[in-house]
Amino acid sequence: MTAKKLGLKQRYAHMTRGLDWETTYQPMDKVFPYDQFEGIKIKDWSAWEDPFRLTMDAYWKFQAEKERKLYAVLDAFAQNNGQASVSDGRYINTLKLFLTGVSPLEYQAHRGFAFTGRHLRGAGPRVAAQMQSLDELRHVQTQIHTISQYNKYFDGLSEFPHMHDRVWYLSVPKSFFDDARAAGPFEFMIAIGFAFEYVLTNLLFVPFMSGAAYNGDMSTVTFGFSAQSDESRHMTLGIEVIKFLLEQHPDNLPIVQKWVDKWFWRGFRVLGLVAMMMDYMLPKKVMSWKEAWEIYFTEGGGSLFQDLARYGIKVPKYADVATEAAEHISHQNWAVFYQYTHAAGFHTWMPDREHLDWLSEKYPNTFDKYYRPRWEMWAQAEKEGKRFYNMALPQLCQVCQIPMAYTEPGDPTTICFRETQFKGETYHFCSDGCKDIFDDEPEKYAQSWLPVHQIFQGNCGGPTVPDVLNWYRMNNGADNMDYAGSPDEKLWNEWHAKAAEAAG
């Protein structure tokens, strides 16, 4: 007689039965010490069911299949010298930004979900968080492998983990995740699982992956497809966690709302790097940041928060400020990197006339009035051989750690300055959003490792720019400065001169 095969649901029940047993050698509160101090009240853990019912053996099988396909494409890409067929040599700089700024966050997410999976006492969320932890580890590995082909030819990629831990602007994404991982497990789930993976993820991955597709980078596109089914699972976990917390106890609502507000704002600030990438760095543009914000936040997020209204959750505080800022942040950020190009781990460039016209068309209310003159002034300086570098270090926001370059809501001519006194010391912020976050937990953010202050304290290799670059392992003259005149540009032009010659 042949054994009867179990259905998926039965199989899952069989494989996971008893995972949430009551411990007897040690009290449950000692085994799970992290899931109460945040003030979240859970009455019934069993109400949180794992929506995927994916067992480990099935998980390995699905993922292995995806990996086989991905690595077949990566091999073909390498054999065909795909790196020479992207739209333009400038495109590689978006990959530098991604590998140094985003890929290490995948690793941080892996660590964070492993911790959360260990410390939530319900079996459903534990299994789901464990799967996500493994996904995130797979994502960082496949991203490194995908981009490693470019590292054979282009500068700025080889020291990405070291740079992530040290470089001034990479402290922005790094501190974002450090903040989430230094919180309790429920805040981590709202921060990363909900705010980042659910509300804002489309504004990170769609621009990078569509950017890759528009610019002929088939290897990165294939990585994106390989991660897509994982991402939809992550989004489901993110929406499940918020609904579960809100259904468990009415006291959870103000805590969850506070986290939604905080992590929306934190995420919005980090995404400013994506805004700049879309509007300034992609040789072939997908859409403007403002258009992406309208589609993925105003429309997509709008319907999400309508759905959550029945739980009492409101649209995140300062969402209106973020929407207004969509007119400005990409221009303000690229201006930061343009003037600090000597300390950037990727190349910058002056937008040409066609590019400026595109920006004028995409930002009819603001670009010609506030930003076009700035680029024209600098283009004039370049023509006169006086390319502008800012040789002082910028004031940083205590919370998001970005140079305080953002302007007052409704007044693009004036920097937004906010400050707080705490225990006799002044702390500065770029916005009301960042100030509110500090004021709620000043003890946490008084410990921020602000790159500019660390340089002045003597903790970053020395007082001069070359000292600090050396400490960053940034290869001065190759990794940094403008694309024009860089080794990357020289290589790219050589390839294309040869190709033109071969074509006769």
Binding site: A335, A381, A392, P403, T413, W449
Partner: protein, 122 residues
């Protein structure tokens, strides 16, 4: 609000990372030229509190803003100063400290008649 933490005595272990004592006798000073956003943000300097305000303007402020076409047009007698949110008339012969600058003070200044490149605040 009391800090929400699992570790007893957490507050006693906090490292206030940017305390004045960590700057080797200097004080952090931020300075910003209003309506000239080509300089993307205020700029930061570690400075001795005994430095005269006039020396700060000559040796720190002027050279770092010199690259702007408006810089040479500044009439320094007409500049409007704001220190930590208050309009002030600094005494150039007195020290930063005597002019009220503390650790992490913000000095903003306006240059009447100069509104940035072609009046764009850049």
């Amino acid at each position: 609000m009391a800090v929400l933490t699992l570790a007893p005595g957490y507050e006693s272990q906090i490292e206030y990372r940017d305390a004045e004592k960590n700057f080797h006798g200097n004080r952090l000073v931020y300075v910003h030229w209003e309506q000239h956003l080509a300089f993307c943000s205020a700029i930061a300097f570690p400075l001795p509190p005994a430095m005269p305000f006039g020396a700060f303007v000559e040796a720190v402020v002027k050279p770092h803003y010199a690259a702007h076409p408006d810089a040479e047009k500044i009439d320094w007698t007409q500049v409007v100063w704001m220190i930590d949110g208050e309009k002030k008339v600094p005494d150039f012969s007195k020290s930063l400290e005597e002019n009220g600058l503390r650790h992490k003070s913000l000095v903003r200044f306006w240059t009447p008649g100069l509104g940035g490149y072609k009046g764009s605040a850049s």
